[in-house]
């Protein structure tokens, strides 16, 4: 086979490979949804982060506005310190709260930000003070059992 045609075919092969990579990355993975714009950082402290993972989304009103970049434990206050990167176009009032929510009943956990009413907005590096920890299933069941036991006790008390 002539050298020229071999080179052309190999070039085609490599192009096909790159096209496949782009197809998978853009159409079938989350490359397209990466915000190419600027972001700024915030911190939030939680008593219990539950199953939150790094790179979990940060949503407000259900819309993805940022990502979790790191999760650490503060050795002095024993709180979980979560670092967030939020899109530069989105700003939140200083009294907004952050909750750890679950997507669906048993899905992945994410951070939801409820906007507050303050005139001033968070600046880069600020700490979200109002937080609600993740719902831990065991605590929920424990509460339910306690309340059931309490109701049963009240009934017995009423009956007596």
């Amino acid at each position: 086979m002539a050298k020229k045609s071999i080179e052309t075919l190999v070039g085609l092969f490599v192009l096909m490979g790159i096209a496949a990579l782009l197809f998978v990355a853009l159409k079938a993975a989350n490359l397209a949804s990466f915000t190419s714009g600027e972001t700024y950082g915030l911190q939030a402290r939680f008593d219990n982060i539950g199953g939150l993972k790094v790179r979990a989304p940060v949503r407000s009103a259900g819309v993805v506005v940022g990502r979790v970049t790191s999760i650490k434990l503060d050795p002095k206050t024993y709180q979980g310190v979560v670092s967030l990167q939020i899109s530069s176009g989105v700003e939140f009032p200083k009294d907004s709260s952050a909750k750890i929510l679950t997507a669906g009943l048993l899905g992945d956990q994410y951070i939801g930000i409820d906007p507050g009413a303050d005139e001033k907005n968070f600046a880069a590096g600020d700490v979200i003070k109002q937080t609600q920890s993740a719902i831990v299933l065991e605590n929920l069941i424990g509460q339910m059992l306690l309340s059931k036991a309490g109701d049963a006790g009240n009934e017995n008390g009423d009956k007596k």
Partner: protein
């Protein structure tokens, strides 16, 4: 005590051949710069190794995509999670099946052809002829093929995954009737480019290096007889496949461990 000595001898031989193959691999790497300078040789080898494998890789990719979509649908439908079909197929392909199945097919198709070619060149004294012409056969014959294999494998693996996902699309959207918008959007939110696709590409790169190096080594050390070459091609497939599967386990454990 003879059987003890026999086991010892077998172990020593095994260690010896491990050592020889490791030295061979180091020699291959050392010859790479020379191969890069003669890129025309690498290009013609990519044609022989990569282009010629396209048909089988694309056909297998499509078939695997079809079957995976069907099978996963039956399993997911019972939990009412049929909409996630695209996501499941995508992750299976991109993380595991793409790199591994492509590597196994590659070892069978390109690996055996490399082994046979090098073995026959050795038998026909072409390697000796090169040496006596003061040309390093590792630089001229082996390193270009090694580079070509290492470049072709990741390309083939991602083509396998892409075609598999497209095949799954045909079955899911065309046959089963899953909503096409959902099909893609669930994947887009569930598949991470760096973690899933990127790790898959790294895996296929590692597998490509393993399969090509094994094939070249087996061809280089084969006996110059028909039986020798036949035996060497068998060894190429067996050793490549086992190494790929073993490496896959290690890489998966490293890459996809839950943090």
């Amino acid at each position: 005590m003879n059987w003890l000595a026999a086991i010892g001898a077998w172990a020593m031989r095994g260690l010896g051949s491990w050592g020889r193959s490791a030295l061979f691999f180091v020699d291959l790497l050392a010859a790479l710069p020379a191969a890069l300078r003669r890129f025309g040789l690498v290009v013609s080898q990519i044609h022989a190794i990569g282009n010629r494998s396209l048909v089988i890789i694309l056909a297998s990719g499509m078939a695997v995509g079809f079957v995976l979509a069907l099978q996963m649908y039956y399993a997911l439908a019972t939990y009412g999670a049929a909409e996630s079909l695209g996501l499941v197929v995508n992750l299976s392909l991109v993380r595991e099946l793409g790199p591994v199945v492509t590597a196994l097919l590659f070892a069978g198709r390109a690996g055996t052809s490399l082994t046979a070619e090098i073995g026959l060149m050795k038998a026909g004294e072409q390697i000796a002829a090169l040496e006596l012409m003061a040309i390093d056969p590792r630089q001229r014959v082996l390193a270009p093929r090694f580079l070509a294999g290492a470049i072709s494998m990741p390309l083939l693996a991602i083509l396998f995954s892409a075609i598999g996902i497209s095949g799954a699309w045909v079955v899911a959207v065309g046959l089963i009737g899953i909503d096409p918008g959902n099909f893609w959007s669930i994947q887009q939110s569930g598949v991470d480019v760096w973690r899933d696709v990127g790790n898959g590409v790294i895996k296929s790169g590692v597998f490509g290096i393993i399969c090509t190096a094994v094939a070249l080594y087996q061809g280089y050390v084969t006996e110059a007889t028909p039986e020798g070459v036949a035996y060497a091609t068998t060894r190429t497939v067996v050793i490549s496949s086992l190494s790929v599967l073993g490496m896959d386990f290690i890489l998966t454990a490293l890459m996809f461990s839950t943090r």
